[in-house]
Symmetry: C2
Subunit: 353 residues, 2 copies
C-alpha cells in the first residue's frame, strides 16, 4: 500500500473525506514538502499542495501526482481550501490536533466554513516503504562510522562538547544533513542522567562515556547509543555493561511480527530487574523512528501495538547509577516478515579507549 493510500485508509476509518496536513513530517511523507510553511490537503479525488512562491516550482517538480496551488495576493491558503471543499462538496475536514496550535485553529474556523475534526494519526507512518528504509539504512551507516571515528579520536582531557563537535562535523562530512537530535555525550557521573547533553565536563581516565546520537539523511533519522570506557573499565559499570547488553540482546531476539510492543519492553525489563537494577532503568525500552526521531509505536509497558513488518524501532535499555554514571546500548531494528534485522552495526563489545 502506498503512502497516499495509507492516509486515505486512515481518513475513511475516521469517517472523513478530507484531511489537512500541516506537520513537516506528514507533508514530507505524502508530498515531499519538508517545510514549516505550506499545506497538504488530501481528499478522495486528489491531493493538493498549497504553497507560496518560495516553494511553488520545486513542489511542481517534486509531485508526480496531485495538484500544486499557489498562495499569492490573488488567493490565500484559506481561499484555496474553501474552494476545494466547496467543489468537492466536503463539509467535514480532519486535521492533526497534536500539531496545530489553538491560534491557527481559531483562524481556520473563522476563515474556512467547515466542521474541523481534531485527529491523532500516530500510526500513519509506522510501516516504512523501501525508499524510506533506504534512507534510514544510510543514516544508520553514517552513525556507525561516526562512532568508530570517535573511538579512534577521543582522548582523556577533552570536553564532552569537543567530542560532540567532532562527531557532528565528521558525520556531516560523510553526507549527513545534520544530527537527528542534540547529540548526547555524557561522561563520568553525567552518564547517570539519561538526557544529559554534551557539556563542559572534561573526560577523565577511568570514566565511562555514553554517546547517544544519530544522523539525518534524506530527512530520515538514525539513533544509536554506545557506552565505552576511557583508560580502564571500572566497576560497578563494567559489570552493569554486561547486564544491559544481555537485556538488549534478549529483547532484539524476541522481535517479530505479531508480538506486542509492551512484551518486548517487558523482556528487557525482566533481565535488568532480576539483576537488581529495575529501579535504575527509568524509561521506555525504545521508540519508532523515521522522519521524526521519536514516533509511535513505542516499546513501553503500556503500548499494546502489534508489531508489523516494516516498522523500525530502537531498542535502548539503560542502567543509571546516581553519582556514579550509566550505561545505555541502543540499536535501530527493522521488523521483517519472520523476525527482525538490526540496522546499526557499530560494535557492542565493551570498548576501552
Amino acid at each position: 500500500m502506498n503512502r497516499m493510500e495509507r492516509a486515505r485508509k486512515q481518513m475513511r476509518a475516521d469517517g472523513l473525506s478530507a484531511l489537512l496536513f500541516t506537520s513537516r513530517e506528514n507533508k514530507f511523507y505524502l508530498a515531499g514538502l519538508y517545510s514549516g510553511s505550506g499545506y497538504i490537503l488530501l481528499t478522495e479525488k486528489d491531493i493538493y499542495a498549497i504553497v507560496d512562491g518560495r516553494y511553488y516550482l520545486a513542489q511542481k517538480k517534486r509531485m508526480t501526482e496531485g495538484t500544486v496551488l499557489l498562495i499569492d495576493a490573488d488567493c490565500t491558503a484559506a481561499g484555496h481550501i474553501r474552494r476545494i471543499l466547496q467543489e468537492e462538496a466536503i463539509g467535514r475536514i480532519g486535521f492533526e490536533k497534536d500539531e496545530v496550535t489553538v491560534g491557527v485553529w481559531e483562524k481556520w474556523q473563522r476563515d474556512i466554513p467547515a466542521e474541523w475534526v481534531p485527529l491523532s494519526l500516530p500510526h500513519l507512518r509506522s510501516v516504512k516503504t523501501c525508499e524510506e528504509l533506504s534512507c534510514i539504512r544510510r543514516a544508520c551507516r553514517i552513525a556507525d562510522q561516526g562512532y568508530e571515528h570517535i573511538l579512534g579520536w577521543i582522548q582523556a582531557g577533552m570536553t564532552e562538547k569537543q567530542v560532540e563537535n567532532e562527531l557532528l562535523h565528521y558525520m556531516k562530512s560523510l553526507g549527513a544533513q545534520k544530527e537527528s537530535f542534540d547529540i548526547i555525550v555524557a561522561s563520568g557521573e553525567n552518564g547517570a542522567m539519561p538526557h544529559a547533553k554534551a557539556g563542559e565536563r572534561i573526560i577523565c581516565q577511568g570514566d565511562f562515556v555514553t554517546m547517544d546520537f544519530g544522523a539525518r539523511v534524506g530527512e530520515y533519522c538514525s539513533d544509536i547509543t554506545r557506552s565505552f570506557a576511557v583508560g580502564e573499565a571500572r566497576e560497578p559499570l563494567a559489570a552493569v555493561y554486561g547486564i544491559v547488553l544481555k537485556a538488549q540482546q534478549k529483547a532484539i531476539d524476541s522481535i517479530r511480527p505479531g508480538r506486542r510492543c509492551q512484551e518486548i519492553d517487558q523482556i528487557a525489563r525482566e533481565v535488568i530487574t532480576s539483576a537488581g537494577y529495575g529501579e535504575n532503568f527509568s524509561h521506555n525500552l525504545g521508540h519508532s523512528m523515521g522522519i521524526a526521531c521519536h514516533e509511535d509505536p513505542r516499546f513501553g509497558p503500556k503500548d499494546d501495538t502489534i508489531l508489523e513488518p516494516g516498522m523500525v524501532l530502537t531498542v535502548e535499555p539503560g542502567i543509571y547509577l546516581e553519582g556514579i554514571g550509566g550505561i545505555r546500548i541502543e540499536d535501530d531494528i527493522l521488523v521483517t516478515e519472520n523476525g527482525c534485522e538490526v540496522l546499526t552495526h557499530a560494535s557492542k563489545e565493551l570498548a576501552v579507549v
Copy 2:
C-alpha cells in the same frame, strides 16, 4: 522592570490573574527552564515551575524565587495546576495560543476546570535586559569570527555544504551551543533564493556567495548575513552590492526610540525601489531576535510598533535576481536611549576571496 513584572503587567492588561507558559522561550525567560517538557505557572502570588524528576533538582538550583513542584506518580502536572487555581481562587487562566496544540488544549479543558483564555504575547520579550544583551553580544562576536574564518578558508571548488560544515564546527569550537538556525550558504544562482539552504552546489570562480547564519550562546541568538565574491566581483551583482549596502546603512542610521518599525522598513525599501529593484526585495527588512531567532516586532510594512530602548532587531535588505544570484547584508541592531548600536561587526566592504 524585571521579567516577571513584565509578564504580570501583560497578565493584568489581559484581565487575568494566572498565566500558564509552555513555550521553551517563555519558560526559559521567566524561570531558566529551556525544555519542551515542564510548565511555568505565573499568578499574582507566586511563580511555579512544574517539572518531572529529570528537571527537578536543576530547577530548584536555578530559581531564586518561586516554587518548584514535582510531577510524579503522586501528582500530575494537571493535579498541581488544579490545586493552585483552587487555593488562589482563580477561575480564568491564560495560555500561549500560538504554542499550545489543539490536542493539549482539549486535554487541559478536560482535566483542569477553569476558563482557558487563548493569548498572544508577541511583545513580552521584546525589550532585553542587560544579562540578555550580554549573551546576544557574545553570540554576535562568534558570528563575526565565523565569517572572518570562512573568508580566509573558502576556495572555489568547495561545495556549499562543506562551507556550512566548517562554519558550524568553527563557531562551536569558539563556544557556540549550536547554530541559531540552519545555516544558509547560497552560491551563484542559488543566491537568488532568500531561503536557500547549503546544498551540493560547487562554488565557482566568479560566484557571489551569500552566507546567512548565527550562533546560539546561553540560549540567545545572533543572526548575520554577508555576500561576497569568489575570484572577481562581476556585474550586475557588484553594483547591486552597493545599493543593498546603502539601503542597509540608511535604515540603520534612522533607528532610534519613538520611530515606528514600518518607517525603518520604508527607508530601506525606498533606496532599493528608486534604484529600480523594488520588485527584487521580496521580504521584510528585519525581525527582532533573542531566545528565538525570529521574534516580534518586525521591520515590515505593516508593523507599527514604536521602537523602545533595549529592543534588538536585524536589518537585512536584499536584492534577488532570478537565474543570476543575490545580495543580502544583515546586522543585529540594539535600540539605545538616543539611537542604536550595531552589535555585529564583520566587515561590509565588498570582499573578493
